[in-house]
């Protein structure tokens, strides 16, 4: 078999298999009467490696054999293909964030007093990792609980120059009309935010 033909079959095998193939495995593809020897396979692999010079993939030898792989400089760009779809933040997280924003500095205990349930440590961690809240001090009571406040990144994210720009409670009382009054992301978002949360609906209905 000519090197060109052999090279084509080997490239096909490596692409189809998607995992490394050793010289022996590559030879096994062929019927006995046409089976190339190891030297011929190596020669074809060398030719294939040369072909790859002008392509976005390269032929590399790893422990278990030869592998075609996408050149590593594409990795950062292509990683986007595997991005997870972002999940929505929970109602508990949003309420915690809202309380920290409006009542800062505030301790977890105080958040719990208002919300009536304990604050999941994951929520505080998530908000901290996101760079939206930070520990701004400790309250001088037994246990010295951390006081939480919002950050500049928090303001930046929501497009606020300062907390002054957050709607006042008076505005909040008219929240039912917010979808109409204020053109944020459109009423759909508000509706979606509510739909997910029975408690919110109850509260709305009661107001």
């Amino acid at each position: 078999m000519e090197t060109a033909q052999l090279k084509g079959i080997i490239e096909a095998a490596l692409l189809a298999y998607g995992q490394p193939l050793g010289i022996e495995q590559l030879r096994e593809i062929f019927e006995e009467f046409e089976r190339p020897d190891a030297a011929a396979v190596r020669k074809a692999l060398a030719a294939l490696a040369e072909d790859c010079a002008s392509r976005p993939m390269e032929l590399v030898e790893v422990a278990s054999g030869w592998r075609l792989q996408v050149r590593s400089h594409f990795a950062a760009r292509l990683s986007k293909l595997w991005q997870e779809r972002p999940t929505r933040y929970s109602r508990a997280l949003l309420e915690t964030l809202a309380l920290i924003a409006y009542r800062q500095p505030i301790t977890r205990g105080e958040i719990e007093d208002v919300r009536g349930v304990t604050v999941n440590p994951n929520i505080v961690r998530t908000l901290t990792e996101r760079g939206w809240i930070r520990v701004v001090g400790h309250r001088e009571v037994p246990g010295h609980p951390e006081l939480l406040g919002t950050t500049r990144e928090f303001l930046d994210y929501f497009g606020l120059k300062s907390l002054d720009e957050m709607p006042s409670l008076a505005a909040l009382r008219d929240m039912d009309d917010i979808g109409i009054q204020l053109d944020f992301d459109g009423p759909a978002t508000v509706q979606a935010a509510r739909a997910g949360l029975p408690a919110a609906n109850d509260a709305d209905a009661a107001s």
Binding site: Q69, S79, G149, S162, D164, L169
Partner: protein
């Protein structure tokens, strides 16, 4: 029932319908000594398992009927119903003898065939015209309908498909990074959350969030954050004249509020010395004032 009797029935039915008797001959199984053999020899032993496999290959009565029609090259639009009914009944009998679990559909079809056969024997009203439907019409429709999807299934099976005929070309991507997209939050989502939570809370009544309060609270956080870093800071350094009078006032109110909440305290090393602000004294982490070397940076 004998063979000849059945054949006579078939001819009779065809004659009654005013149609020529079926011309199609059964395709021979084999040619023996130049003679076509159209029936399996009765005395030939067929292993029950083999027969079972053969019979189970059918996907139901329609499939079995189609097999019989196609094998004998019969015209599906002009089925010799008596012949087919006889052959069908033979298969059914065979299946019953072999104790094969016979699906109800097979018996239903047997009844349908018997009914068509009897209707074929009735004289047709010629002047009825189009209203008079061939008794076989429904069966023919169902057979054709089934056959077209049977054919379609074979066509689908012949399509080049993944795993069997087609392999995606895959190359490993090393150094892949996991990119996590953070959820988006719209401001009003948080506001809705806040509104709901304060409405639920009993402390709602004495919670007054106003513009001033908010900026004071923000400044309180800022002051605390500053202190978190250094522990102690000169009072006047907390003020930024460039913020103007309002900004200075906000800072001042913030410090007062922090004092009230005992989050900070104001200390003075000696009379007439600069005031310093530090975190609340009861904070164990805070060093006593006299141990702190006060540094002022230019």
């Amino acid at each position: 029932m004998t063979e000849s009797l059945e054949r006579a029935d078939g001819s009779e039915a065809a004659a009654a319908a005013g149609e020529p008797p079926p011309q199609q001959e059964e395709m021979p199984f084999a040619i023996v000594d130049g003679e076509p053999v159209t029936e399996m020899p009765r005395d030939l032993y067929i292993p029950p398992q083999a027969l079972e496999v053969f019979l189970e290959a059918f996907e139901g009565p329609l499939d079995l009927l189609l097999y019989m029609i196609r094998r004998q090259n019969l015209n599906i639009l002009d089925i010799p119903i008596a012949d087919i009914t006889r052959q069908y009944m033979e298969y059914i009998q065979l299946m019953q003898e072999l104790d094969l679990e016979l699906a109800g559909e097979y018996l239903l079809m047997a009844a349908m065939l018997a009914e068509i056969k009897s209707r074929m024997l009735l004289p047709r009203v010629s002047d009825g015209g189009d209203d008079e439907e061939d008794p076989r019409a429904e069966l023919v429709r169902r057979l054709q309908e089934y056959e077209r999807y049977k054919q379609a299934a074979e066509d689908i099976d012949r399509l080049p498909r993944l795993e069997r005929d087609v392999h995606p070309a895959i190359a490993e991507l090393t150094h892949r990074q996991v990119v996590r997209i953070l959820p988006e939050v719209a401001l009003q989502e948080m506001l809705v959350a806040f509104k709901d939570v304060v409405q639920r809370a009993t402390m709602f009544a004495h919670l007054h969030v106003q513009r001033e309060t908010l900026s004071v609270r923000q400044r309180m956080s800022d002051v605390l954050a500053l202190l978190e870093g250094v522990g102690l800071i000169e009072f006047i350094r907390l003020f930024r004249p460039e913020e103007g009078r309002l900004g200075v006032t906000v800072t001042f109110v913030a410090i007062l509020e922090l004092l009230r909440e005992q989050l900070v305290e104001i200390v003075q090393a000696e009379p007439y010395q600069p005031l310093h602000v530090r975190r609340g004294e009861r904070d164990p982490d805070a060093l006593p004032l006299d141990e702190i070397e006060i540094t002022t940076t230019a």
